[in-house]
Symmetry: C2
Subunit: 143 residues, 2 copies
């Protein structure tokens, strides 16, 4: 197992909890709800190990990670009914493979372009609203 | 086969040729070199059919597309030795599944952030320089 003791995805410390809420473990990754919700339903699918690039995964890991991403995107679609989902993996410095799933709404924020990594001002939800979204996402993961 | 007669990835017309150069067919997709080369080695991996979201692919298509993406990213790594590759799929309006593979260099353009979809001014290469990159990418696709 590839592990980096300085990486918050590896050690799952407060830095992670400040940014996202765990929704569910997937095959080789974890689905998180991003706390910043300018794009309603925005999530992250973080690979379980500290891999930087897709080609560092074994063929089995790659296949399961692709299924995790598709399943998570389907759950986002079911939960918030966006008009399009964007997929982005950057992590130049942070270096732990994770994909942002960003639901877009026709003629809404960033429609037709990329997405903002951290919109200003931030759109945070109440604890009850996060709970509701997490429940919808978990329900959306069902076959 | 899902096909959209208005989509340049489906009909492969001049709009496509103006933006990118075909490098090689992959399993269920095509690897293209993006003409705008502010990020040296930037490519696109376009799915063969007009699918919008990852979860529209069959399990077989999804597995092969993931392998295509990893193989293409590995070819980019071998061709231009970046410090990190970014992966992005947007296409809100265009609607044909394709992933941008964007090589980043430490402390270079957009390092530590996302990437610019179309940097201004554009960095175009000479015909000979494009040919050289295409050859390197094809060589990098070998096992």
């Amino acid at each position: 197992m590839r592990h980096d003791a300085s990486c918050f995805y590896c050690v799952k410390d407060q830095r992670l909890a400040d940014l996202m809420i765990e929704v569910a473990p997937l095959g080789v990754s974890t689905l998180f709800l991003f706390r910043e919700q300018s794009y309603y339903g925005r999530c992250i699918v973080a690979f379980r190990d500290h891999a930087r690039e897709l080609f560092e995964l074994t063929p089995d890991e790659l296949g399961v990670y692709a299924r995790d991403l598709a399943r998570a995107a389907c759950a986002v679609q079911r939960a918030v009914s966006p008009d399009k989902i964007n997929y982005g993996a950057f992590a130049d410095k942070q270096g732990h493979l994770h994909v942002h799933l960003v639901p877009k709404v026709k003629d809404g924020l960033s429609w037709g372009g990329m997405f903002d990594m951290m919109p200003d001002p931030k759109q945070l939800l109440s604890a009850g609203e996060y709970d509701e979204l997490v429940k919808k996402l978990r329900a959306g993961l069902a076959p």
